[in-house]
Symmetry: C3
Subunit: 471 residues, 3 copies
């Protein structure tokens, strides 16, 4: 007999009964509050088009590099999982077959966040009662197909069902953002806002950087063949993004190195890049310089600035050649936040009206560097546990390593940071449960009082995101 | 109705009832033992003068960079907190107003050691019953003013009430230590001993290094214009410090780099420094060399040597320019203890009569480097969790990452390391509770027996400090 | 009255009753399963000769650098502990006297894995009931002497009593492995297999590298005066090792740096080494290159490849000069797995038939680097918590920092990695208990279901080692 999915109401709370009871009470106070999603990668065209999701594999497997990388790590070729090839090679098209492979390998996800989210999505979002395994895979596939055909599972209906108050996408300055107008014009009243992420034009080594610069000239009406025109184009696009609802920018960088070039030097490097002669060293310092420029602009226009740093992207060239980016080959590296952020913090960090949120996967810097820095500089806040650390243990370690030095008030609440739209409630639920569990421990051990914890769980869920992302 | 301060008798113990019971029993065995404070920064003139403490803000806010840096991190200017400006600029003088700001922002300290200590100080030291908040701040201010006027709250009376057995200050070789004689001559029988911290004359980049060298010549009677005279001056000052009760030296360094210069090279660098021509590289190697010299002298005179390393001081030049040092802008950095300490350990580390205590805030080196090193070299001991890590979680992580490889017998008990005299009992209480909690876990999980834990809590509280600091 | 050794049946499980009950049930399912020891350093001649173990000190103290380094760290000279001197100097020969020192200092091991293993060995392997201390040391010494004289405590009998299914030794390519034939010929039916560890011929700085190369020529019949002959010799020895039962290779390296030299460059460096002119830089790149060669050969012959990296060996020259290697002076260092393993993983890591197991003592790379890498590359698995981290806390940290990103299925089960034969059951028992405790927490917190945990404890104990070490 197939087993039921166990989505226990006390899951992720400590086993100790006294602590668990407190955690549950705290969690109940925020469980049903609307979702603030200030940073993520959901494709907004989902909501423009509002077409039914195609099938379980297309919904839950092919776009989720958390999931397929784990199958790959156990020797299952990405071709067999239907991952589209950028080199035009063949890839599995039978989505039932792919789903069956997932069912056969579901044990790989035991104890992982992907496993936890998937159970939540199957049960709570899609109404599946039985546990996914080799034997049940095909039956569950059919059930999901049926579910996806129902209007209540169309993207907009799901969005409403998820009780999302605001959803931020992540967009290049070269994007037209026409989805914003189209959604508004459709009369659907959802707050889906863009975020300004200029990596494609600030990273001189970005694939087709030159093409993006041309597109930037075109869309901004500024001549980006010179550095000055480029800076003006970025400023204009920020104005446009703000008009379209953006409240934040985001910067994905290899390291958090910041440095200020003098104007002439910046112009020279930019000119080399325009002529296709920029070196990797040029790119490194230019990126560091542009972080400074972005901080300057944030001080002027009030947009919150996010830095996501410390990822060695595309570590596996064989996979990159066949399948492109975002295929599970991005690996975190050690960071030096103390020296790297110093120029930016020294120049802009004392400005209390500027908000800089820094994300890292190098957990060793939380207690040693980021908490002391954020516990001092008014502008700096510590971004939530990110990517691989967006997990039950990862979030607990994050709180334990930041709270004692920075408090919770130099953090900003949760980000789901996902491409996988149907996983949003699962991710927020795990975060709320984990925060409740952390606070419950503080109450049970008489570090804080219960009424303080009640305020804190509300601050973490609602007030800190609103305040730091200026919603 | 204002809420009471909850200083629960079981605070900081695990919630599990079996473990908590053991923790409480262990704690009760050391709760009331006298305090050994072998390293700290209390101003000894407090006890020479024995004047009443001025007011709550002067007592608890203005000298406490742990506290005001957190308020600053949330956008409150240091000027509004009455922090004295070294540049002569204006700063708030209404101490009631400053205290009110603290009350309004007390939530920032939830879950932080500052929050825990403050509750303890208010309730146990000053007798305040109600929780500090915006509404109660002025009333509590008045209560503290009244309390401070009472003779039992004068510095010497407090010292006795705190049951301090020995208190070490931290002093430059250029200090006269006249407070030692003045306290002795006053007939007050407290053991307040100096510690020899020569940073102002060993760090060639120290502000006004040259002036300190002149003062060292003067106070030692040795001509410090040459390296040889300088070394002799330091040796003579060590003798004097020892006569005045010192049992330890301390060295605050950017990294734990040690290296031995040949005599001629040391003379050359020193000469450059005397002529104002030393480079930062000179300073770095000279500091490393002087650590070796200090180890040599400790092997000769028997004083315990402490190294506090790995802090990027004054990270924020804007604050440094206006307010000077120790304003919450000191940020820990990553360390390499394996290579940095090697020269010193190779030369002096096999000497079982030499005690070297190393402190770091880079927790990654505890399990990886310091515990294996201290679990081998007879001279080396691991200093307690320091500064930002002198906290409930920080101390637990420290024990978990050091005990399995080094045992507790290569650690040295607790340091309060504080400038804030009234926080001393709170800090020792937190440390005793945390040690009790750690040991209780080992007993509850049948790693050690209860009678072993009973010995260990005594060793941690009394025997290890006495032995390692030679009291 | 002497106290009994407390080897509580619930030891190392969490104190919370619900969690403990689950842990105990999981543990009971694997408690008595046979031991797989796929990596270790037991001397196989023990089983060739099958002579009674000489005495307690010779059995438990002199060969155990975990144990005597801790005594040394407290100022007890190694000479007093009977550690043999390579420089011919005198050392204590009265083994009763040495055992007495251990008894007097047994408190040093409270909370350490050595302490836990020793209790297990004394009680379960040797039948001692009373706790070792100064007062009981001589009596226990006599009891152990009596026990060791009994045939059931001879090496082969112990091996059978321990229920060992397979035991891997670690052997140089220059070893004859004649013990394999001698054991087989004796008619004793134990599976004791070699592992191919070529450090003595791949590390150009290895003491007497040149002598080992001559021995390699001789034993392989290939002329190793040229690089080509050397490579052929290694290939032939791998064939021989495989015939003698080896299923794995092992590589102990300073860092995990891998890189591919072109053939000519490799030949040049090798020629320099043959002429005694290799530099440390030559050695570093040659080691990196040979890791690539070993990966290539593993892809061809199917042997599992292990890398044990990140140890600063012989940190204390004074001890090395007197006592040689493996005397507790080996200290872990920080690692950079992302960049160092990249060449090898890029070339061989996508091969699902190749198994590469990487070990480190730099725990900071578990969550940040190794789990993401192993959660992607099919060939890569994360070796178990190693050496100083082969401990109750160390193994828990390991699971917490690897499972969420890599799952348990990119790990390989437990290694005892010991020279100390009688400690093998203690080590496996601690590992099984710790895994049970970890899984019990996941069940108690409703992360996984009980039936999943039951499968996982079996996988960790039996299936993952069998699969990854190809037993």
């Amino acid at each position: 007999m197939p087993k039921s999915i166990d989505l226990h109401e006390d899951r992720y709370f400590a086993s100790d009964p006294a602590e668990r009871k407190i955690a549950k009470n705290l969690y109940m106070q925020v469980k049903d509050l609307s979702i603030l999603s200030p940073h993520g990668h959901v494709d907004p065209n989902l909501f423009v088009e509002n077409k039914p999701f195609p099938d379980p594999t297309q919904l839950l497997v092919i776009p989720d590099h958390y999931l397929f990388r784990m199958l790959y790590s156990q020797g299952i070729p990405l071709e067999k999982l239907g991952i589209p090839r950028t080199d035009g090679g063949a890839t599995e098209t039978d989505h039932r077959k792919i789903w069956q492979i997932v069912g056969e390998n579901i044990h790989l996800f035991r104890g992982t966040p992907t496993g936890m989210w998937l159970k939540h999505e199957l049960r709570e979002v899609l109404g599946i009662q039985t546990r996914l395994c080799a034997a049940t895979a095909m039956d569950i596939y059919d059930q999901i197909v049926d579910a996806l055909a129902k209007p209540e599972n169309f993207p907009r209906a799901m969005y409403e069902r998820f009780n999302i108050e605001v959803l931020s996408t992540t967009d290049f300055p070269t994007d037209s953002l026409e989805h914003v107008d189209r959604i508004r014009e459709s009369g659907w009243n959802a707050r889906i806002v863009p975020a300004f992420r200029p990596d494609n034009v600030t990273d001189l080594m970005h694939k087709d950087w030159r093409g993006h610069i041309d597109r930037l000239s075109e869309i901004s009406g500024e001549d980006c063949s010179s550095y000055n025109g480029y800076i003006q184009a970025l400023e204009k696009r920020r104005v446009f993004f703000k008009e379209q609802g953006a409240t934040s920018t985001d910067h994905g960088v290899f390291t958090a190195l910041t440095l200020e070039l003098d104007h002439r030097e910046a112009e020279k490097i930019y000119a080399r890049a325009i002529h296709g002669q920029a070196t990797p060293q040029d790119a490194e310092v230019f990126t560091g310089h542009m972080l400074m420029e972005m901080a300057r602009m944030s001080c002027e226009d009030g947009m919150t600035m996010q830095i996501h740093s410390g990822v060695f992207r595309n570590h596996n060239p064989a996979i990159y050649a066949k399948f492109g980016t975002d295929k599970g080959c991005d690996i975190p590296i050690a960071e030096d936040m103390v020296r790297h952020l110093k120029p930016l913090l020294n120049k802009y960090g004392n400005n209390p009206d500027f908000t800089l949120i820094v994300f890292t996967m190098d957990e060793t810097v939380f207690a040693r560097e980021l908490a002391p820095l954020a516990g001092h500089y008014p502008a700096l806040k510590i971004g939530p546990a990110w990517w691989f650390n967006d997990s039950r243990e990862g979030m607990l370690r994050y709180r334990r390593m930041t709270t004692e030095t920075a408090g919770i008030y130099n953090t900003v609440g949760f980000n789901d940071d996902t491409r996988a739209f149907p996983s949003i409630p699962a991710r927020h639920d795990l975060a709320r449960r984990t925060d409740a569990r952390y606070l419950a421990e503080l109450v049970a051990e008489h570090v804080i009082d219960l009424d303080e914890a009640e305020e804190m769980i509300m601050d973490l869920t609602v007030n800190l995101p609103k305040q730091n992302y200026k919603f």
